[in-house]
Every structure is written in structure tokens, then in C-alpha cells.
């Protein structure tokens, strides 16, 4: 139980130190900040990068007998994974000032794969569904308000798209006004998104005060 007690106390002190950020820069915040950065970087280095990515996805596949356990240890090694391993090692040439260009091959490979994926997936997963969402019947039989709402939706999508035109000035009776309507829609949308988020943020603060007042100080149940 002592571990739990120490953890709670350490947690409460760190929490208070972090809250002092709101007042001004001070030694308490500076201490918590540096500790937090150090601990989280250490956690990502050992636990995430090594134990959760490198070990299961690379080492355990190339040398299953050493790094995998259970039935996975008898799997045939996948030597093809040496390629990404080598590409990863090329990145370390950044340490040398003369040979740092070698790491460009890795950068080029990463850029190629990620842009290739982005071209197709952004079209499939976001572009097409969003266009589809904007296509709604303007007349909903017997529901005047529904028809109006659908009109609002279509007009909004089209006018906001006009706002994003770069090759024409937002001027003129048609173009200027449509783009202006687009800005109105954007503003309403930003306000709504802002307002909706307030709640979640306050919930988080409630969670923090619950920790301080109940787990640490036992003032409330």
C-alpha cells in the first residue's frame, strides 16, 4: 500500500506544481515541467519505441527465438524486415556532418510512402463521404423545416467551398457575396465547436479536482 500512498502524494504535488503555470513562470512549475519532459521522453524511448514497436514488429520477427515468447517463438524469421531496419539505421548518419546526406534515402522513402497513402486515403475516407453528405433533397415532403434545414446545409457547403478559392479575389456581386456567406457559416461553425468543447474541458478539470479532494485529501467521497 505504501507505493500507492507515495504515488498519490507525488501525483498531488506534481498536479499542484503544474497548476502554478497559470499564475506565472516559477521554480515549482519549472521543476515539474523538466521532470515531466524527462520522464515522458524516457517512457517513449524504452516502453513505447523499444518494447511496443521495435521488439514486437522488428526484433521478434527477425529473431523470434530470442525476442518472441510462446508459439510466436517458433515462427519462421521474416528477413524482409531487415530492409526497414537498415533504412532506420541510415537515419543515424545524421550524426556525421559529412555523410548526413545518406539519411536522405530514408527521408525520401518515408515521404514517398506517406504521400502515396495520403493521396488515395484522403480522397476515399474524407473527400467523397463529405461530398456525399452535402447531397440531400431540398424538398422533404410535409416537413417545411426539414426542407429549410437541408437547404441551409447545401448552401453552406457550397458557399464555404467558394471561400476557399485562391485564384480569384473575393469581390463582385456574386462571388463576393457568396464568399461572405461562406465566412458566416465558418464563424457559426467555429463558435459552435468552441462552445461544445467547453464542456469536455471542464469535465477534465472536475476529474483533477476529484483526484485532489477525494483521493489525496479525502475531503469528499
Amino acid at each position: 500500500m505504501t507505493t500507492l500512498l507515495i504515488t498519490t502524494w507525488v501525483g498531488a504535488l506534481i498536479t499542484l506544481c503544474c497548476f502554478t503555470f497559470l499564475i506565472k513562470d516559477n521554480p515549482f512549475y519549472r521543476f515539474a515541467e523538466h521532470l515531466f519532459v524527462g520522464v515522458s521522453a524516457g517512457y517513449y524511448l524504452s516502453t513505447i519505441s523499444f518494447h511496443q514497436v521495435l521488439k514486437p514488429n522488428l526484433l521478434a520477427k527477425i529473431w523470434p527465438t530470442y525476442f518472441a515468447s510462446g508459439t510466436a517463438a517458433e515462427a519462421t524469421p521474416e528477413y524482409i524486415l531487415i530492409i526497414p531496419g537498415l533504412l532506420g539505421l541510415l537515419m543515424l548518419f545524421r550524426f556525421s556532418s559529412n555523410l548526413s546526406w545518406v539519411s536522405r534515402f530514408t527521408v525520401a522513402f518515408v515521404m514517398g510512402v506517406s504521400t502515396g497513402i495520403a493521396v488515395v486515403t484522403s480522397a476515399e475516407q474524407y473527400l467523397i463521404p463529405q461530398v456525399k453528405k452535402a447531397i440531400v433533397p431540398l424538398i422533404v415532403s410535409g416537413d417545411y423545416f426539414g426542407s429549410f434545414s437541408n437547404l441551409v446545409l447545401v448552401v453552406g457547403t457550397v458557399s464555404c467551398l467558394f471561400y476557399f478559392f485562391f485564384s480569384t479575389e473575393h469581390r463582385g456581386p456574386v462571388f463576393g457575396n457568396v464568399a461572405k456567406v461562406g465566412i458566416w457559416y465558418l464563424m457559426i461553425s467555429f463558435g459552435a465547436a468552441f462552445g461544445a468543447t467547453v464542456m469536455g474541458r471542464i469535465s477534465l478539470l472536475i476529474g483533477r479536482f476529484n483526484f485532489l479532494l477525494s483521493d489525496w485529501l479525502h475531503l469528499i467521497k
Binding site: 503544474c18 503555470f21 506565472k24 513562470d25 519549472r30 515539474a32 515541467e33 523538466h34 515531466f36 519532459v37 524527462g38 520522464v39 515522458s40 521522453a41 517512457y43 517513449y44 513505447i48 537515419m91 545524421r94 539519411s103 527521408v107 518515408v110 515521404m111 510512402v113 506517406s114 504521400t115 497513402i117 493521396v119 488515395v120 480522397a123 476515399e124 473527400l127 467523397i128 461530398v131 456525399k132 452535402a134 447531397i135 440531400v136 433533397p137 431540398l138 424538398i139 447545401v154 457547403t157 457550397v158 467551398l161 467558394f162 476557399f164 478559392f165 485562391f166 485564384s167 480569384t168 479575389e169 473575393h170 465558418l186 461553425s189 467555429f190 463558435g191 465547436a193 468552441f194 468543447t197
Partner: protein, 332 residues
């Protein structure tokens, strides 16, 4: 391989035409097999409802008969990509002959003033290219704009801080900033230790950046890239130290916070237009014009689709229903 150093004028359109022809042939080929495949599909669906046990063996059959080389359910994506490629390549060549117009983007026009102001005040400039890794296109856009900002800080001799949350982005950013300082002949002023890695953790990074901001008090802050919950913490801290702030992200959930707390915000696509806007490179401007044309096509599709759906809902438009259905099928 000089193609890659300076692509010949004919390279991109030829490629686009080839892709176009290929995609058309795929689509045509689809039409012929489609009827047989749909029958199988219907059979499958019926079986799924009636009996779960036997579906497996029956679904295996049609797959063995017709294994298409082309994923036909993805044809709309192909159409979009080919269209964009055609538009972009056309306007790229157009741009080389005649200068194309780009509307003013106030956030980007303010960029130089912000750096200048920082120099006057004797304070630094802070740049954060988002919190995602290099496989995110927004990060790539952010890092590209970083090169332009770094050129300005090299010119004005202002301190350039760029704390990083991803090591990969850090190493790419160091290279870009170094190149910018080299181009301006100020390699002596380049400080790689100010483009430093903090931690991969989202909030650990925010804590670190917040601390740096409070202590170094940068006079200009740039947030261009992918941002999540940290957007407002960064923007409010920057505001409290009195910095001019220019933000840009395509993350719809975070734009409102930047709009509320920053002086200028690049909304969505404007982030990607920034590189063309700042470099005035005709090829990049041409691609922007190409994007605009595709946007026009999308608007047309939306309007036509809406009209079709509306008409086929009414009593007069029953005849249009098959047309509407085949139209909507492309948007699946």
C-alpha cells in the same frame, strides 16, 4: 535521370494522359463483369440472412471465379486523382507562360512583419510544425513553410526557436533551416540546438514549450501543422507573453481555438496554399489553380446531385430515379 531535376514540359501531362487512359480502360472493363458480380453479391446477401454456418464456403466461390486486378469500388478516387493531375499539369504550363493571380491571405502577408517586429524588440521567433510525425501531410506543409520563416529570421537576424515533439521531424527541420540560413549566407547564425527534441508525449511537449515561451518570451509564434488539444494552451500562453501569433491547421476541431486566440489563422486549405503563396513559384501557383478547378467540379457535383435527388423525390421525377441511383453510386 534529369527528369527529376527539371521535369520536361511534356512529362506530367503525358503521365496524366496515360493514367487517364488506364483508368478509363479499367472502368470499361468493370462494366462487363459488373453484372455477374452483382448477382453473386445478391446471392451472398440472401445467404447471410438465412444461415450463418454456410456463408463461408459460398463466399469463397465467386472470389475464385473473378479476381479483378482493379479494386473497382475505388474508381471514384481514381477519377478524382486523374482530374486533379490533369488540371494541375494544365495550369502549371499555363503559369509558366503567364503569371497567375492568388488572392491575398492575410495570415501569410503578416508573416514578414511578425519576424521584423521580433527583431525590433530583440526577442525571438518560435515555430511549431504541429505535433504529428513526418507521415502527416500537414507536418510536411508546416516544415516547408518553416523554411520560408527561417529565411526571414536569417535575414533579420532574429533567434529562431523550434522545439520538436518528433525526432524524425526534428532531423528534417534542422536540414531545412540550415539550408535557409545557407541560402541567406548566414550559416554562422544557424543554431541547431534551438531546433531541439523535447518528448513524444503530447502534454509533456506542451509543458516544455509553455516553459520555453514563458522564459524566452518570443515576439512572434507560428503554429502551422496538425494540432489537437494543445492548440489552445499554446495560443493562450503565447498571447500572455504578448506575441504576435500566426496559426494554421486543417484539423477542423482545433481551428476555432486558433481563431479565438491568435492574430491570424490559416483555415484548412490555406495552410497548403501557403507554400505557393510565399514562394510565388509558377509551378506551385499552377497547382493551386488546379485545386480551384477541382473545387469547381465538386461544387457542380454537389449542385447537380442535390437537384437530381430533389427531383427524383417528387412525383414528377420518378423517371430520374435510376439516373440518381447510378450517380450516387459513384459517391459510395
Amino acid at each position: 535521370m534529369s527528369i527529376f531535376r527539371r521535369p520536361p514540359r511534356s512529362f506530367v501531362p503525358i503521365l496524366a494522359l496515360i493514367l487517364c487512359a488506364l483508368s478509363m480502360s479499367f472502368l470499361m472493363a468493370d462494366q462487363t463483369v459488373e453484372s455477374t458480380v452483382t448477382e453473386h453479391r445478391q446471392g451472398e446477401a440472401a445467404l447471410c440472412c438465412s444461415d450463418h454456418g454456410t456463408t463461408e464456403e459460398l463466399t469463397a466461390k465467386p472470389a475464385a471465379e473473378a479476381k479483378p486486378w482493379f479494386a473497382k469500388e475505388r474508381k471514384t478516387v481514381l477519377i478524382i486523382i486523374v482530374l486533379l493531375l490533369l488540371f494541375v499539369s494544365y495550369f502549371t504550363f499555363h503559369a509558366q507562360r503567364k503569371e497567375l493571380f492568388i488572392r491575398r491571405i492575410s495570415g501569410l502577408s503578416a508573416l514578414e512583419d511578425a519576424v521584423g517586429r521580433a527583431t525590433e524588440m530583440g526577442r525571438g521567433v518560435m515555430y511549431i510544425p504541429g505535433i504529428m510525425d513526418m507521415d502527416d501531410i500537414q507536418t510536411i506543409a508546416g516544415v516547408t513553410i518553416m523554411g520560408h520563416v527561417a529565411k526571414k529570421t536569417a535575414e533579420y537576424d532574429a533567434a529562431f526557436y523550434a522545439p520538436m515533439t518528433r525526432s524524425f521531424v526534428m532531423s528534417v527541420a534542422q536540414e531545412i533551416v540550415k539550408q535557409a540560413y545557407l541560402e541567406k549566407g548566414r550559416l554562422d547564425a544557424f543554431r541547431p540546438d534551438r531546433i531541439n527534441y523535447l518528448t513524444d508525449d503530447q502534454f509533456g511537449f506542451v509543458a516544455g514549450v509553455g516553459g520555453i515561451m514563458m522564459r524566452e518570451k518570443p515576439a512572434a509564434c507560428f503554429y502551422l501543422g496538425t494540432f489537437y488539444a494543445e492548440s489552445l494552451i499554446l495560443a493562450e500562453t503565447g498571447n500572455s507573453v504578448g506575441a504576435i501569433q500566426i496559426a494554421g491547421t486543417a484539423e477542423p476541431s482545433q481551428i476555432p481555438f486558433f481563431v479565438a486566440a491568435c492574430d491570424y489563422t490559416l483555415i484548412g486549405e490555406e495552410l497548403f496554399a501557403a507554400s505557393a503563396y510565399l514562394s510565388k513559384n509558377p509551378r506551385e501557383v499552377g497547382s493551386l489553380k488546379g485545386q480551384d478547378m477541382l473545387k469547381l467540379v465538386i461544387i457542380a457535383v454537389t449542385v447537380i446531385g442535390t437537384l437530381l435527388v430533389t427531383i427524383s423525390e417528387t412525383e414528377f421525377g420518378k423517371g430520374l430515379t435510376p439516373l440518381t441511383e447510378s450517380f450516387m453510386q459513384y459517391l459510395k
